[in-house]
C-alpha cells in the first residue's frame, strides 16, 4: 500500500526548500496567474523551474494552484501559461473551474489534475464525476466527517486529499463572497480579505463574529491513514519558515512513527503540544467527529496571539570560533534555555551562555531581528536548522 503523502504549502522558493527538507513529500505553490492567493509572493517561471528541480532531486513533487473562478478576461493567455508552467516541471495542477480542469486533462497527459477544495466536494457522486472527467485526485471539502471521508476515499482510481492543519474558512469554499461585498476584493479570484475574521456590529452592546478556530488533526492521522486517504494537506502558504518547519517536521514524525509502529501516546502528546506552540489561534478537529458547533468558533473580535518563541534561523557555521551563525528572529538573552532543531529531525537542548555579534564581540541580549549572531556549538548543522525558546515550566522534547 502506498504511503500517505504529506503535502505542504510554500509561498516562495525558500519556503518550498524548507518544507521539503523538513519532510513534506510534495508541495503546493502559486504561480503568477490563476491562483487563489493573488497577494502572496507567488512563483515566477524561473523560481518554479528551480523549485521543481529541487523537489525532483529529492524524489518529491510540486503542485501548482490554478484554482480561481475565472472571468472571461482572465482567459487571455491561459493556454500559454499552462504550457509554460508544465515546461517548468510541475507534477500536477490544483484546479477549481471545470473548463480549465477538462482543458488540461484533454491536452496535457504529462501532468495530473487535482480538483481544488474550492469545489467543496462532499459526496461520492460528485467525486466520481471528477474521476470520470480524468482528474486523479479530489481535495475534499473541509466540512466532512470521518465516515464521509472514508466513503469517498473508497472510490477506485481516485485519490483523496484532506486538510489536516491550519486556518479554516467559515463558509463552504467557493460559496463565499463576503470579501467582494465588504472590500470589493474578489474572494474567488485570489483577493480574499478574510472578512470572516472581522467583528460586525450586531446590537449596541455586542459584536457578532463568525471566525472559526484552526484545524489540528494530529490525533487522527492514524485514522486518516487507515481509511484510505492519499494525501494530508497543511494550509498556510503565507506562514513563517518557523511555523512551516515545526508543523511539517511534526507531522513527518507522526506519520513515520505510525508506519513503523513506534508512536506512543506520550510522543503523540508531545508533538500535539509542539504544534500548539506555533499556532496563533486555538485549534479543534472541526467536522471530523461531529458537526462544527459552539466550541469551534470565536466570539471576540481579535483571535490571533503573537508567537515569539522562534529565536533564529541557522545560516552557517564559523569553523574558527566553533559557532553556529544565525539570523535573529526574536529577542533572547544569556541564560535562556532553547532547543536547536534540524530538518532531519534532530533536536539539541541548549542553554545560551555566550552570544557573539557579527564582529565577534560578546553581547548579553539579542534584540534586533535579522541581526547576524553566533552561538558556540561543537558541530556544523544542516541549512535551515532553527532555534526555539523553551518556556519556563516546559520540558524540551528530547
Amino acid at each position: 500500500m502506498k504511503k500517505i503523502e504529506l503535502l505542504a504549502p510554500a509561498g516562495d522558493l525558500e519556503r518550498l526548500k524548507v518544507v521539503l527538507l523538513y519532510g513534506a513529500d510534495a508541495v503546493y505553490v502559486g504561480g503568477e496567474k490563476l491562483g487563489l492567493r493573488a497577494n502572496a509572493t507567488n512563483f515566477s517561471l524561473d523560481e518554479l523551474k528551480e523549485g521543481c528541480t529541487f523537489a525532483h532531486n529529492l524524489g518529491k513533487r510540486v503542485y501548482l494552484t490554478a484554482n480561481i473562478v475565472f472571468h472571461d478576461k482572465d482567459r487571455i493567455g491561459m493556454e500559454e501559461y499552462i504550457k509554460e508552467v508544465i515546461d517548468c516541471g510541475i507534477d500536477a495542477f490544483i484546479v477549481s473551474d471545470l473548463y480549465l480542469a477538462k482543458y488540461i486533462i484533454d491536452n496535457f497527459k504529462s501532468v495530473e489534475v487535482h480538483i481544488s477544495t474550492q469545489d467543496s466536494i462532499t459526496n461520492l457522486d460528485s467525486a466520481k464525476f471528477y474521476r470520470d472527467l480524468g482528474a486523479s485526485r479530489v481535495v475534499l471539502a473541509r466540512e466532512l466527517s470521518h465516515e464521509e471521508i472514508k466513503e469517498i476515499s473508497s472510490i477506485p482510481n481516485l485519490e483523496t486529499e484532506v486538510f489536516i492543519h491550519g486556518a479554516m474558512c467559515t463558509c463552504f469554499s467557493g460559496r463565499c463572497t463576503l470579501s467582494n461585498y465588504v472590500t470589493n476584493r474578489d474572494a474567488n479570484r485570489g483577493g480574499c480579505a478574510q472578512v470572516c475574521r472581522f467583528a460586525f456590529d450586531y446590537d449596541s452592546t455586542d459584536k457578532f463574529t463568525l471566525a472559526t478556530k484552526d484545524l489540528n488533526m494530529a490525533m487522527y492521522i492514524k485514522d486518516l491513514i487507515d481509511i484510505g486517504v492519499s494525501s494530508l494537506k497543511v494550509e498556510g502558504r503565507m506562514r513563517s519558515l518557523y511555523y512551516l518547519a515545526t508543523v511539517i517536521g511534526s507531522y513527518r514524525f507522526l506519520i513515520d512513527s505510525i508506519y513503523n509502529g513506534t508512536l506512543t501516546d506520550e510522543k503523540l502528546k508531545e508533538y500535539e503540544k509542539r504544534l500548539d506552540s506555533v499556532a496563533n489561534r486555538d485549534t479543534t478537529t472541526q467536522y471530523f467527529n461531529h458537526l462544527a458547533d459552539v466550541t469551534d468558533q470565536y466570539y471576540t473580535g481579535r483571535q490571533e496571539v503573537s508567537n515569539q518563541e522562534y529565536l533564529g534561523l541557522i545560516i552557517g557555521y564559523d569553523e574558527n570560533m566553533k559557532s553556529l551563525i544565525l539570523k535573529e528572529r526574536n529577542y533572547f538573552k544569556i541564560g535562556d534555555e532553547v532547543e536547536i532543531f534540524t530538518p532531519s529531525g534532530e533536536i539539541y537542548p541548549y542553554k545560551i551562555e555566550t552570544i557573539y555579534n557579527e564582529d565577534n564581540e560578546k553581547i548579553d541580549v539579542a534584540r534586533h531581528p535579522d541581526e547576524i549572531l553566533k552561538l558556540p556549538f561543537n558541530r556544523r548543522l544542516i541549512p535551515y536548522s532553527m532555534i526555539r525558546l523553551i518556556r519556563k515550566g516546559e520540558k524540551s522534547n528530547v
Binding site: A38, N39, I68, V69, F70, H71, D72, D74, R75, D97, L98, Y99, K102, S120, T122, N123, L124, D125, S126, F129, Y130, A141, E143, E148, T170, C171, F172, R175, C176, T177, L178, N180, Y181, V182, T183, N184, R185, D186, A187, N188, G190, G191, C196, F198, A199, F200, D201, Y202, F208, T209, L210, T212, Y287, L291, A292, D293, V294, D296, Q297, Y299
Partner: protein, 276 residues
C-alpha cells in the same frame, strides 16, 4: 426576457394571476439560500397551472442524501418541471447516470462567471446557467454573446453573499447565553455594509441587505437575449410585489426604482484581486 418570481410569503399560488411567466421553487431539504421552501406536493400543485415551474436543488449534497436525491429527481421528472437549478455535481451525475429527462440549469452561485465554463456545461447537457451577481454588465453581455445556453439573471432581490454548513446563529447565541434568533442583521463597521444572516437546518446564509435592482439595464439585457430575469419578493408586501411585477412588465423604471432603490451591484464595479 421571461420573468420568474421567487416568493417569500406563504401563499405562492396567489401569484399565478400576475404577469410573471413562472416561479422558482426551492425544494425543501435540498435547497439553501432562500426564505421559503416547497415540498414535492407544493410543486405538483403549482405545476397544474400553465406557468413555468423551476425547482432549486442547490445545497451541498452529502453521501447519506444521495438516495433521496435520486428519488426526488425522478419525481421532478414525472412532474415535468421546466428546469432544475443545481449547485452540486451529484445532481448532474445522477441525471445522466439514470437517463432522466430533466432540464438542468447550472446554479453555481458565485462561480458562473465565464463563457467557457457555461459552454462546457452546455456540452455536458446543462442547457441553462444562472449568472453570478458579482460580474459586470459587460461580462454579462460578453457571456450572452459567446454562449448558447439559456441565461438566467437576478434582476431584483437580495444577493446571496455566503453560505456555511455551520449553525452560526445557534453557536453565537449559545455562547452569549441569549435566546436564539434565526434571522439577524449585522453591519461591517468600516465599510458600513449590512448583511442579513439567516440560519436553518442546512446551515447559515448571508444575504446582502441592499436590494439589487437592475432596472437600468433591464432593456439592454432583454435585447441582448438574456432569457430569464428573476424578481424576488424579498421584504415586499404582496401588493407592492405585484406592483413591482407590473412595473417590469410595462417597464416603468421610475416606479421600480421608487420601490426598490438604486443598488446596481457589480454592474459597473469590477472586483479586484491583486492589491498593489
Amino acid at each position: 426576457m421571461k420573468l420568474l418570481g421567487v416568493i417569500r410569503d406563504n401563499n405562492y399560488l396567489e401569484y399565478l394571476n400576475t404577469s410573471l411567466d413562472g416561479l422558482i421553487l426551492p425544494l425543501e431539504n435540498f435547497s439553501v439560500d432562500y426564505f421559503n421552501y416547497y415540498s414535492i406536493s407544493d410543486i405538483r400543485e403549482y405545476k397544474k397551472s400553465n406557468k413555468l415551474c423551476f425547482v432549486v436543488i442547490n445545497k451541498m449534497i452529502f453521501n447519506n442524501e444521495l438516495d433521496d436525491l435520486l428519488n426526488i429527481l425522478k419525481e421532478l421528472e414525472n412532474i415535468k418541471v421546466d428546469g432544475v437549478f443545481f449547485y452540486d455535481l451529484a445532481v448532474l451525475s445522477l441525471v445522466k447516470e439514470n437517463n432522466l429527462t430533466i432540464n438542468l440549469i447550472y446554479n453555481g452561485t458565485h462561480m458562473v462567471t465565464n463563457s467557457d465554463t457555461i459552454n462546457l456545461y452546455y456540452d455536458l447537457g446543462v442547457k441553462g446557467a444562472y449568472l453570478s451577481n458579482e460580474i459586470t454588465k459587460d461580462e454579462v453581455l460578453n457571456i450572452r454573446h459567446n454562449t448558447k445556453s439559456d441565461l438566467f439573471i437576478l434582476l431584483l432581490g437580495n444577493p446571496v453573499v455566503a453560505m456555511s454548513r455551520r449553525s452560526l446563529l445557534t453557536s453565537y447565541f449559545a455562547n452569549k447565553n441569549k435566546a436564539k434568533e434565526d434571522l439577524i442583521t449585522i453591519k461591517e463597521p468600516k465599510s458600513g455594509q449590512e448583511f442579513l444572516v439567516k440560519e436553518d437546518s442546512n446551515g447559515t446564509t448571508f444575504f446582502y441587505n441592499k436590494r439589487l435592482n437592475l432596472s437600468n439595464v433591464y432593456k439592454e439585457l432583454k435585447d441582448s437575449g438574456v432569457n430569464y430575469g428573476i424578481i424576488e419578493q424579498g421584504g415586499f408586501s404582496s401588493n407592492q410585489y405585484k406592483e413591482l411585477i407590473k412595473a417590469f412588465v410595462n417597464f416603468n423604471k421610475t416606479k421600480i426604482d421608487e420601490l426598490a432603490g438604486h443598488n446596481r451591484g457589480f454592474l459597473y464595479r469590477e472586483t479586484i484581486y491583486k492589491v498593489k
